[in-house]
């Protein structure tokens, strides 16, 4: 079967690495990656633990199809209690790291305790060592860390997941970056890693991954690739990535703009997919260089971009690496670093994205926090004295370029920006400026024109998220609430299952749930079909919910900011509307089999065998 059947437990406090068997009974009920790691976390930590305390654990988790020939089979997740949210966190990444971890023979790495001094974990197949990071890579950027580790161990094929300065200093939305620009980006998993004095996990694997039914697995891969490869979805993502969504949400009136004070951005044509392709007047080259793919991926949605060398963010400031091609803007980073902060400069947004990659910050949450700070600045609550004279008004590309580096290092106003928008708003007595749910900043969809997305944000177990449910088609067909509770519930369950396979969510559409089940069953055996996969997803969602309830979250946390619930959208399809969460939430609870307080009933717990 395609599980390796082996976990590495890393006790940082006692500097000890121990191998143990994967719990196959749990794997049969929670599959892998998001689901199975959440089961381990829920069993092993006190849900009320401070996320930054040694009692929290951090799990690097692959899925059963990670490292296989399945298209997009390179996904891995970081699972922990989130530093940003105080809720269960599962942050999903691609690149090459996950497959390499599997090739080294490990399904999971469970990290616990806290190292007395900074360390990194070095895995070479079944050999596991904790090595000193102080004086070597501690204090260095993600990009330096990857280079230095490969140089020290003399192997260019080592794959590395690490934190940058942001994770070291506890930026609440610090992420874990692997392969230079792929990230377990959301919920502050990098801050948890930093709190443990763990700088990096470096891995080199030379074993393979076996399928339960090799012939059947090859046939399943061929059949599913036959659907994915010729699909319009794959062709669109390969050609333009996710950036075309900018034009869609702008046209629809669901593009979060200037901290959701507006829902359409008048300068969208300066920061969209077409602008990425347009040759610049300065050097005749386009921002977009090419696309790229993660391990085993036949889609290739990733963007490779090169900055304008004459742009003020880099001209005359050194930064040679910022003149080279690197991970470019995708829709979520693009909206957050442009429309959300009112900036119409795609080069400045690309610079900010590079900084987020190099120093390990979630660009969605950084943009959401900066936009909250801009609103506080315009209200006179953050003063020019606090910003060293920097004009922090909406639309300032200079403010974007300067503050992103301050946030990564914690200098000046950067210390406030590292709090995330919720804690920032509370500090300045204006919690209303935080466009977040459970402390996690909005992705790029304003929930007034997209009613279902509002319910998805409010009920996501990791805080506001565009990947936990998929109400897009329903929301773009009408602005009402009809059927949204059902769509959100069903797609939450499906997405929880997909996130537990080791495959990428972007396959959903060309593939239906039966296509995932076909591959899982051939790879793992045990009788996986579509119905069992969906039931597993529902079990996972409820497991996460029960963790959050035990952590102290309540129905009151299943909500949206007042701006979304009480202030009508000014334009677009949702003009004059607020989000009608109060209509959808009770129906959603009922469909889930939860009581009026959002607590799973005993009947539901028994039905799901939790």
């Amino acid at each position: 079967m395609s599980w390796q059947g082996k976990i590495l437990r890393v006790d940082l406090t006692h500097r000890r690495c121990t191998a143990e068997p994967l719990n196959m009974d749990w794997a049969a009920r929670y599959l892998g990656q998001r689901g199975l790691a959440s089961k381990y976390l829920a069993e092993e930590i006190d849900p009320r633990v401070d996320p930054l305390a040694p009692g929290n654990k951090l799990i690097f988790a692959t899925g059963p199809l990670t490292g296989t020939m399945s298209a997009t089979g390179g996904r891995w997740s970081a699972v922990t209690k989130g530093a940003l949210t105080n809720a269960i966190a599962c942050s999903n990444s691609g690149g090459q790291f996950g497959a390499e971890l599997k090739f080294a023979g490990w399904d999971f790495v469970i990290v616990e305790g806290r190292a007395e001094a900074p360390v990194y974990l070095w895995l070479e197949d079944d050999k596991a060592e904790l090595l000193d990071a102080e004086g070597f890579i501690w204090g260095r950027s993600v990009w330096d860390t990857e280079r230095l580790i490969r140089e020290r161990h003399r192997d260019p094929l080592i794959r590395i997941a690490s934190i940058g300065r942001a994770g070291e200093i506890g930026v609440r939305y610090a992420c874990i970056v692997n392969d230079l620009d792929r990230a377990a980006g959301r919920s502050g998993v990098g801050a948890v890693m930093g709190s443990k004095n763990l700088k990096a996990v470096a891995v080199r694997g030379t074993t393979g991954v076996k399928a339960h039914d090799p012939a059947g697995f090859l046939a399943a891969v061929a059949a599913t690739r036959g659907k994915l490869d010729p699909s319009p979805t794959r062709r669109r993502l390969a050609a333009n990535g996710t950036m075309p969504m900018m034009d869609v949400t702008n046209a629809y009136g669901s593009l979060p703009t200037r901290n959701c004070q507006d829902v359409q951005f008048e300068h969208t044509d300066q920061v969209n997919a077409a602008r990425m392709r347009k040759p610049r007047e300065t050097d005749g080259k386009a921002n977009l260089v090419r696309n790229k793919a993660c391990f085993g991926c036949t889609i290739g949605c990733g963007r490779v971009a090169r900055m304008d060398p004459t742009h003020f963010a880099v001209a005359g400031r050194g930064r040679e690496r910022y003149r080279k091609a690197g991970g470019g803007l995708e829709y979520e980073s693009g909206f957050a670093l442009a429309a959300m902060v009112g900036v119409d400069d795609i080069e400045a947004a690309t610079f900010a994205n590079f900084v987020c990659n190099e120093h390990g910050m979630d660009p969605i949450s950084f943009g959401g926090t900066l936009s909250a700070a801009m609103e506080l600045f315009e209200a006179g609550l953050i003063t020019p004295e606090q910003t060293d004279g920097l004009d922090l008004r909406f639309g300032s590309a200079e403010a974007l370029v300067k503050t992103v580096e301050l946030a990564a290092t914690g200098e000046g106003i950067g210390a406030d920006l590292g709090l995330g928008s919720k804690r920032l708003g509370e500090k300045y007595g204006r919690p209303d400026v935080s466009m977040s749910v459970k402390g996690q900043e909005f992705p790029g969809y304003d929930p007034r024109a997209m009613q279902g997305m509002g319910l998805a944000y409010a009920t996501s177990n990791r805080g506001a998220c565009h990947l936990r449910a998929s109400p897009y088609t329903a929301d773009f067909a009408s602005v009402d609430t009809d059927g949204r509770a059902q769509v959100v519930k069903e797609t939450q369950d499906e997405n929880a299952a997909i996130d537990s396979t080791g495959l990428c969510a972007f396959t959903h559409g060309p593939w239906d749930i039966a296509d995932y089940a076909l591959q899982v069953d051939a790879a793992c055996g045990g009788g996986w079909d579509a119905a069992r996969l969906v039931a597993t997803g529902e079990r996972i969602h409820n497991l996460e919910r029960r963790f959050n309830l035990a952590a102290g979250l309540t129905r009151a946390d299943d909500t949206l900011p007042d701006r979304i619930l009480k202030v009508a959208a000014k334009s677009g399809a949702g003009k004059g509307r607020v989000n009608d969460l109060h209509v959808m939430l009770p129906e959603y609870y009922r469909l889930r089999g939860w009581d009026e307080n959002g607590v799973p009933t005993n009947e539901t717990i028994q039905r799901l065998d939790l």
Binding site: A239, D247, Y252, G444, H466, S571
Partner: protein, 82 residues
């Protein structure tokens, strides 16, 4: 009548050279419906999301949705976020 059509993020190997769409005018007979307009664009039954002016029109309503001179039609595929 003449309506203004805006295509967003269509198939990169389809009508728009860069896959990003564009704007064009479309002449239709008086009394034409949205379904007629989509048919004239070759996009009927293609599973597209459609807005007329600022409002979305779901698939089941397009055959009955009458167009007027000067209307703006926005068409985009059912893309999801990432």
């Amino acid at each position: 009548m003449r309506v203004r059509v805006r295509l967003i993020a269509l198939d990169p190997h389809g009508a728009a050279p860069d896959g990003l769409g564009g704007s064009r005018d479309l002449d239709l007979p008086d009394g034409a419906t949205l379904a007629d307009g989509l048919r004239a664009l070759g996009l009927e039954g293609a599973g597209m999301m459609v807005m007329v002016n600022d409002g979305p029109v779901p698939p089941e309503s397009r055959a009955d949705h009458g167009l007027a001179d000067g209307d703006g039609i926005t068409v985009f595929p059912p893309i999801q976020g990432g």
